[in-house]
Amino acid sequence: MILYKGKIYGTEKTVDLLEKLKNDVDETLLNKSIDTERLIAAVDEISNRISKGAYDKLINEIDVDGLDEYVAAAAQMLHSDNLRLNIKAQTPHLTELPDINSYIAPVGALFHIAAGNVDVLPAYSVLSGLVCGNVNILKLPSQDNGITVKILSELIKIMPELSDFIYVFDTPSSDLPSMLKMAEAADKIIVWGGDGAVAAVRRFAPPQIPVVSWGHKISFACIGSDYEKRADELYGLAEHIIKTSQLLCSSCQRIYINSGKPEDADGFCRFFLPILQKARDKYPLKDLGAAAEATLLDLTAETEGSIGGKPKNTARKYAGKGCSLTAKDEKTLEISGFFGSCDVTSCSLNELFNVLREKKGYLQTATVIADEKTRAEFENIAVRAGVCRITNPADMSRAFLGEAHDGQFELSNYVRIINKEV
């Protein structure tokens, strides 16, 4: 499905529409602008409609646990006051200079390539481009279920002039000539996805067109020796692990115990398992099939390691019902088994910096449950290692208004600063 200047076309029109894309984009860039206040009002209208349940049918097609909470958060984020605050927080703050006046302009045209790893992400990416005044070309992910075009069409219905700023194509990434046509009409490429997706875009992107990549990230927790006194914070962490199924880049994949003794990881597992179980009992596992396959793939890898001659796996599993903890001596920060299965490792703060540096470029959110002194020491190490987000245990995956994305203000990537000599 193609959305071009507010009209829906079948994919058989791809070649014809791509042929005129650059001209249409350039014409919009020369002659038209987005009235940001009108856009904010339009988005606010959508936020109201979400809250009133107008899109419930559409939203219910999104198959994720805890959907209601995400929807409520999204509606809140789209509220006009919050949107204004977000734009203000995320765009560059200009300083008065003696010889030069500065002002902000859109980048021009953004080419969004969103891997289908998060529902509504493609629409979100386009909206981010729109609030900065850009023309937006979107290549739909192969797994898109139609929700993106529905959301953007709704927006165009409320604010018809946006039709000149939104071009959505349903082209496979293997169709390189089409991908190049879209890239050539753009001033910047925005890619969301894992290493494979980012690398593929960098390979075909024309050299003069910058690529902004929002890659996959990994997150973790650090626990001090006095954890037995901190049951509330531990429960917050447990709920976070269970509620996100550890599928988000901000989901806790590994719990590091600030200790040099491997057996302290086992001690923590024994203490934390009932707490994790309490969270699991509150939020029962919904996607049994996915959890089962994750477990099977993990077991397959372990079995193949064993029959392939790898040394005996020394991991110790502490199993609950629908959740588990695994004490591991290997310290490398890697994904856990997802769906409430978290790895735990003893790693003193002295070693932590080197352990985290192995994952530089991937580090995102960290939380710490410890006394003030340990927290400060941890924060210093984590930030120096590359972590860009530190939250309370329960809030690892909470979206904060105006916050940066992976250490950068996302919208600052979608604007240019114009300097004009006085």
Partner: protein
Amino acid sequence: MKFRRALFRKKPYDKDDEAFVSAVREMTEYHIKHNKKYAKLLSDADFSPDTLKCAEDLKKLPFIPTLVFKRNELFTIDKRKIPVKVTSSGTGGSAGVIGFELSGLFCAFKMVLKIFSFRNLFSPRLTNYVVFGYKPDKNNKTAVSKTAFGTTLFAPALHRTYALTRKDGKYEVDLDAVCRAIEKYAKQKHPVRFMGFPSYTYFTMKLLEEKKTDAKLPKGSKIILAGGWKQYYKEQVDKKEFYDTAKRVLGMDDENVIEFYGAVEHPVSYCDCKNHNLHVPAYSRVIIRDVTTLEPLPYGQIGLVELITPMIKATPITAVMPDDLGVLYPGETCGCGINTPYLKIIGRVGLKDVKTCAAGASQLLGDVKL
């Protein structure tokens, strides 16, 4: 292998835990002695066959995901000396090879005779077959094609029609041709047997209904289902809808619709009873395990299915875990008179729809496509 021999002499649903555990212990010892990779696997798990003393101990026996066999050769007997090698269907994208020695095949043969006799599947009457599966040829070594063909030997075949035939090197489904054959068979006096995938069987019945074809089959006809819905799982219908359609279109009562469950990596035949439940035969045991922790679950809870049988020496498939989700119920609750537990297959595991932005997930899930 005296304990294995003793076990496979038993009647299909005679549950004898002592005999079963002894045979599993014997088979596990054999694999450990002759298969270094398997021995290492059990050693890494700190497992010794001596542990196996009662049925409860079967839960401790390390099990192997069937995916391991699809990606690795793990024979206990020298590959060149294995007389029969069977390829799994490879619906998940990869196919594995399981080796069978003659003594194991003999056990399988005895089991099939007993279970099929129990369900009255042998008949001397000339029969027309419609196989909803692959037409066998020298290039197709899959178990599903061999099993389907084997089933057409239970009653002498007058004619066989296949739903999947090879054209230009690729298998193609031709349900229209199958409908024409059924229409022809329906006019004859010989019984007809359908055999194979439930998906194609159901689609054909719906096609016959759409075409308003008179396809009421002669008395003594049967529908034998095996192989699951595979890639058509989204179109899967419940059993009642299936039986109602069979009655409406083919004039067949549900007692003549017989379902089988099994796998190449677990060559035990699970045949449904008169109440259409898959009771666990004497030659195997089923354990349902938690989908995240792999801990054994009690009756009535859904989990990953672990299958145990001491049938085969050539490949260490004593305890395997296919990618099925199932639930086990106590035999007495069925009411058919068989007292062994019965297994209900709920579906297949699947991460395909999982969406994640966690770095490193591609190792597990494969990279998300653009």
